[in-house]
Symmetry: C2
């Protein structure tokens, strides 16, 4: 008897991205509920936007869209039962340090809790997410060696890994976050999380019964 393959979704997210916030807060529960395996893929949107010829987030570049996003986030936070939406006083925030830590923890059991805590720091508590003294308490609260992880996060080899991961995002056609992949099938935006999960389950089922 061959066991069925586990439905698998790659989850590409950026700590500075407000729609990534919505997905980070709910994806682990959803994955557990649906029996989907997650591959956490932190990356940086800045280099992606610049490669596409944009100076900044479209929510900053286009005022009309930026104004709308505030209304939309307020409603979405209510819909998902998150803290009331408070527009971050800095947007988009520098996010390279938490991304480097998330890269170290991507296949560790603490990745979900760490990512949610960083997102809340940014989008509920309006705090600098790129400061070691903001991130150390999060790591400590998870029972992790904060100083050691912060050191390893800033090692040259780990910095290079994050650059490579961001380059991979560009090569695979990612232009925003969150983005989900089921094999090479791409889904863009928190609104497509359900569709990505459904495709992952259908594919796994098809493989199992083939």
């Amino acid at each position: 008897m061959v066991s069925a393959p586990l439905p698998t979704v790659e989850f590409w997210f950026e700590f500075a991205s407000n729609y990534s916030y919505l997905s980070v807060m709910r994806i682990e529960d959803e994955a557990r509920r649906q029996g989907v395996r997650l591959i956490w893929k932190p990356f940086l949107l800045g280099p992606i936007f610049r490669a596409l010829g944009m100076e900044n987030s479209p929510f900053v570049e286009q005022k009309q869209k930026g104004a709308y996003v505030q209304r939309d986030m307020a409603r979405q936070c209510r819909k998902y039962g998150l803290a009331p939406w408070t527009p971050p006083s800095v947007f988009p925030r520098l996010s390279v340090l938490p991304a480097r830590i998330a890269l170290l923890g991507a296949d560790q059991p603490w990745i979900g809790a760490f990512s949610r805590a960083v997102m809340e720091l940014n989008f509920a508590k309006d705090r600098d997410i790129n400061a070691p003294d903001q991130l150390a308490p999060i790591l400590a609260a998870l029972g992790l060696p904060a100083a050691d992880l912060l050191g390893r996060a800033q090692a040259d080899s780990n910095k290079a890994r994050l650059r490579q991961q961001t380059e991979e995002a560009g090569r695979r056609g990612i232009f925003g976050a969150p983005t989900f992949f089921v094999d090479e099938e791409m889904f863009w935006g928190n609104d497509r999380l359900e569709d990505a999960f459904q495709m992952a389950r259908e594919k796994a089922q098809a493989t199992a019964s083939a």
Copy 2:
């Protein structure tokens, strides 16, 4: 006894927009099912994009996003049970003539059927939607006086009305299509149709029980 106010949604759409296509095809059924009154608001995206400093649709301007939209549309058409997605050979198509006709019919019982037929012409049959000889058969099939309507659509007063409606779209912060309004609450994109309907129903209920 005062009767409850009817939940009402303004539906702003553009015949050249592929995500408007998804909403046009399903919105009238959904409104009937949920007891929502629709106010049909055809408008032109071209002047909106130009006012925001864009030369063309973002799906044309940004190649990565444009490529993604093709995959997304294929999946969305399947999800909604529409004809298999065929990328239009011209995108975005000129749509001023059908928009002018839709403006004449916005409060007529044929607006839904007319709009669906034009959308199918563009996104399922890959035909010019700005040609009188493509639109006349649609009007005739609906039992309407095609020549008369085509004439009235091109009258100066009706042309001016469409310009005014498009200006209203800009004033109200619209930057894409479809867009839904419940009073001044704006919802952008086919993915927000359900949320807009729900808010309309909640508002009507709140008014009724106040």
